[in-house]
Symmetry: C2
Subunit: 415 residues, 2 copies
């Protein structure tokens, strides 16, 4: 079946999460969880859906970048792309004029991710025979692991107990709620105020005890010495990791922090803002991180992510994907389950981030049971929005947005 | 005098340089030298002009990014900005929603540069008294160095002899021409074909001899081992440096290359695609580069560039700015002369890149005499385009562009 890509479309979809302080952290104090949402249309019935996660303002820039890249995809034969996916990916990321405004980082790489993700979503058209052939290696063991996933799922952790903007009562209430749901790993945001961090860590530990895991996340707010000194003060709460202590670009800085904090049994986690595979390579090579947090919408789509999984496997660093943003849970579940079935074949020290928001907008949302992601059943990359979502949250003129302007909750910057 | 910023404007300006293969290199095979051009208007007569350099396609994305950032500048008091320029810069680069699509890299940082550059251009409104006060430190020595600059200028090197797309005759002709103009440092592009590189290096060395300096530039095309092996083959031509051997993000990779090539007396130069000060810090700290090539339009404007100059000074690495792209020569001359007068107080191992194209479009173009940049006389950052340029080269509907569509030399992608 020859599949020609006939049309591409991109939409600016935003959710007004800043109204509830959902997702707030030390550096991103009022995010509106959003995405640039790409649809690839073909001469057949099938379509591909891909997205890249954003925080509200700036989505319009990523939308513009997606449009600028469409000419590289429109009119192409999808089968040809899949047959030579590596070189097609390099064609996109090496476009000789566009590459200057990256290269392979920031806006242009986020747009690459949205398009590549949509192309992978199209790949459910690979025939069953082809798929079986590809999976034949270690088939026996794979089936065992698939069975485990089908029965118990893949372990998740929750970030929802500790947003900076939440009150203490809300933190305690949420800890209790997620404990009851079966969660054993909990993440708390830190970095704006040490006294307040201590108080909230205490609160969480009092509720979840010391047998469960506590992770901390500073979202890059510190410099190197601050990271070390601040974390020494929080060491008594026995955090499994400190996430993004400093600039995601500072490999040597992460190494210094890691060397200091390992004697306190605190690991270093980073990756959600790691720009590309070259940066990941160095973080892994230098052993500057203990947990590799790939982001399914920041680096250039699945093609580049697979390279990071392979390096992490080779260098013995567990991958614990970043998720929680729009569509990120939907995407990373595929990647992490693939890793378990085919690559690392282990869930030890591995866990997928989970936040239960915006899932209702997808046709095939994640299913989390007993604090585990259950394997997705439908083909594709699980990022197709339902019609209602498009109608309501398209920015700036979706129905919900127009209502919010009328209520004075938001105003359009551009008007 | 209170100066309020009343309006901002951004234009997409493109020059059809791909028609002549000007600016071609191993990775950027057909650039149309372009820029996003920002004008800041005030309640007074003065305006500020700033730009960020691009290669054609993608300029529209940077333009969109500039527009998205305008709300942070419009209505502000310029005096207040200048009084607290550091914190204003951080406000721009830390905008809690926009920062996600960087942070501090790629499109959003290029846009920051255009705006910050335009703000610095406005700073000619600092009173003479204030300026004198600021320059009083080491005033005596400064005057001596200013005098040197006024008499002989700041040494330049030419990149114009060795674009990949040029024929051998053209290379030889240009070497002879630039020798006659007084140039003593020449840069040649390499990396696509070793046999061809050897032939062209031979040709250049035959014309310029071994007393003049030869620099090589691979524009990131190699991996680490290729860099080392390829450069061993070119070592006999005694290059001063190899520029951008590999990914600008690979700090540890540059270090490995540097360690191997230092025994061949070949230095490592990089920086034109270095994303921000954090990346520069590591390149300098690790001594992964021997020449620091700041780019006046890639990192977030003068504010961040000054931080890099200071680190380079502290760590003893000479700064040799990237230039040649639209407006880059105009901007870096200010920076490098400031460095000579106030900071490094030396021109040893330092030289500014020079290419003589697009200067005619500026109201206050660079003046190069005897292969030296002569100090600019007019206030501001020298990046105001003349009216003709705006009329002719605004993209996509400037007069020259419309002519080229009619002649079939270009077609509009977006139509």
């Amino acid at each position: 079946m020859e599949i020609l890509i006939t049309e591409l479309d991109v939409k600016d979809i935003r959710f007004p999460t800043s109204l509830l302080a959902d997702g707030s952290d030390a550096m991103h104090t009022n995010p509106d969880y959003s995405c640039a949402y790409v649809t690839i249309k073909t001469n057949k019935e099938i379509e591909g859906y891909g997205l890249t996660f954003t925080l509200g303002r700036g989505t319009e820039i990523v939308v513009e970048a997606c449009k600028s890249m469409f000419y590289l995809v429109k009119g192409q034969n999808a089968n040809e792309i899949f047959a030579h996916f590596g070189s097609f990916w390099r064609k996109l990321t090496s476009e000789p004029q566009l590459r200057w405004i990256g290269p392979e980082k920031g806006v242009i790489h986020l747009a690459t991710a949205a398009i590549i993700n949509a192309l992978w979503d199209l790949t459910d058209v690979i025939t069953e025979e082809e798929a079986v052939e590809m999976l034949k290696v270690n088939q026996k063991d794979k089936e065992k692991r698939e069975e485990i996933l089908r029965k118990t799922g893949y372990p998740a952790y929750t970030t929802q107990v500790g947003w900076l903007g939440y009150s203490n009562d809300k933190v305690k209430e949420l800890c209790t709620k997620f404990l009851a749901l079966g969660f054993t790993s909990f993440k708390v945001k830190v970095g704006q105020n040490l006294t307040d961090d201590i108080r909230r860590c205490q609160l969480v530990r009092e509720t979840i005890g010391y047998k469960n895991k506590l992770m901390l996340d500073a979202n890059q707010i510190w410099n190197i010495n601050e990271s070390i000194e601040w974390m020494k003060q929080l060491a008594k709460f026995e955090p499994t990791w400190i996430e993004e202590p400093t600039s995601p670009d500072d490999i040597l800085g992460h190494l210094k922090i890691a060397n200091e904090l390992r004697s306190y049994s605190i690991g270093i986690a980073s990756g959600e803002m790691c720009a590309n595979r070259v940066m990941f390579k160095q973080l892994l090579q230098a052993r500057a991180i203990d947990y590799c947090q790939i982001d399914s919408a920041r680096i250039g789509g699945i093609n580049e992510i697979l390279a990071v999984y392979l390096m992490a496997k080779k260098l013995g660093v567990p991958v614990c994907p970043h998720a929680g943003g729009v569509g990120l849970c939907e995407m990373v579940q595929h990647l992490q389950m693939w890793d378990f079935i085919c690559l690392s074949v282990s869930t030890e020290n591995r866990v997928i981030e989970y936040i239960d928001q915006q899932h209702e907008h997808f046709e095939d949302p994640v299913i989390v049971q007993n604090a585990c992601y259950m394997p997705p059943i439908s083909p594709g990359y699980s990022t197709k929005f339902n019609e209602n979502c498009i109608k309501n949250y398209s920015y700036p003129n979706g129905e919900k947005w127009r209502n919010m302007y009328e209520q004075g909750l938001f105003h359009k910057l551009s008007d």
